[in-house]
């Protein structure tokens, strides 16, 4: 096969495999990336690109491989808009961590979230303690969103 074709196929494979790998690694909590996660970005990205580029050392190849990745990303993004199933597969779904009736312990355990993490986010919004939270959600991208109770409502434990 002419070498231009495998170069593009390697780019497609590299991109799709990265999507799968990062998705499987799982969502991570919090807003800031830790220093190790920055290293991981280099590591994953660098390994992928080394295999993708191979011995091709020309600008033409770099451009075509980057455009291939861009086209794949765009395609996946268009798929995500049109299909709910695709969105759930690619991004994941938001998960409720705490609601009026209490903590969702199963979710907490599987996603390895601790009540401290939820309180951390709540504190940033000026909520003083857990009873001031109406609902806490772990979003698909890993961010925890906390919705405070209205001033009159406070949590009543059943």
């Amino acid at each position: 096969m002419d070498p231009a074709i495998p170069a593009i196929l390697r780019a497609v494979f590299g991109y799709l495999f990265l999507v799968l790998t990062v998705r499987v690694v799982g969502r991570r909590l919090g807003k800031q990336l830790t220093p190790f996660e920055f290293i991981l970005i280099f590591y994953l990205g660098g390994l992928t690109l080394t295999g993708m580029v191979g011995i091709e050392a020309s600008m033409v190849n770099a451009i075509t491989q980057i455009l291939t990745i861009a086209l794949c990303h765009r395609g996946l993004s268009a798929l995500r808009v049109r299909s709910s199933t695709a969105m759930k597969l690619l991004d994941g779904v938001p998960l409720i961590l705490m609601e009026t009736r209490g903590w969702r312990t199963d979710t907490l355990r599987r996603m390895m979230v601790q009540d401290d993490d939820v309180m951390n986010v709540a504190r940033e919004q000026g909520i003083q303690d857990l009873s001031g939270i109406r609902i806490a959600v772990l979003e698909a991208f890993g961010q925890i969103n906390v919705v405070p109770c209205a001033p009159q409502q406070q949590r009543q434990n059943p």
Partner: protein, 150 residues
């Protein structure tokens, strides 16, 4: 000399590609997006320096890219037009309960994305949204409807 030319070319190509790629709406940069960006930058690196991996060559490339970036920042400051071209413009996606469907469709935003952004602002119901704006960096900011005085 050609390293510098390739560095300049690489800079603008990356700028164009990142600019036309749709950010996944409403969130901070995810791990995947960081990896993707590093991937694209990395591929260009190998082509920019070519077979010459010397310190001299790479330093020249670094200086070329840094100078170019500084120049672009200056150009953005001098001209609002350049700023809009390079960074984009904020876009209103919900306006007094009217969803701007053409903007939503063109930017690939789903209802779920707006709901998630609303939750970040403490809003649980889509009816409570007064304005939602897609910012230039891809985040969605939501403004709550003023509560009627009771």
């Amino acid at each position: 000399m050609d390293t510098i030319l390739r560095a300049v070319m690489g800079y603008f190509i990356l700028l164009l590609v990142v600019r036309v790629l749709r950010r996944r709406a409403g969130s901070q940069m995810t791990l995947f997006e960081f990896v993707l960006i590093f991937l694209m930058g990395g591929v260009i690196i190998l082509a920019t320096v070519g077979p010459d991996r010397s310190v001299t060559n790479c330093t020249c490339a670094v200086i070329a890219v840094a100078a170019l970036h500084r120049f672009v920042a200056w150009a953005k400051m001098r001209s609002a037009r350049v700023g809009t071209i390079i960074d984009g413009t904020p876009l209103v996606i919900v306006r007094h309960c009217e969803w701007q469907t053409d903007v939503l469709r063109a930017m690939g935003i789903r209802e779920e994305d707006i709901a998630a952004a609303a939750r970040a602002h403490g809003i649980t119901s889509l009816q409570d949204i007064d304005y939602a704006v897609l910012e230039r960096n891809g985040r969605i900011t939501v403004v709550r409807k003023a509560r009627p005085m009771s």
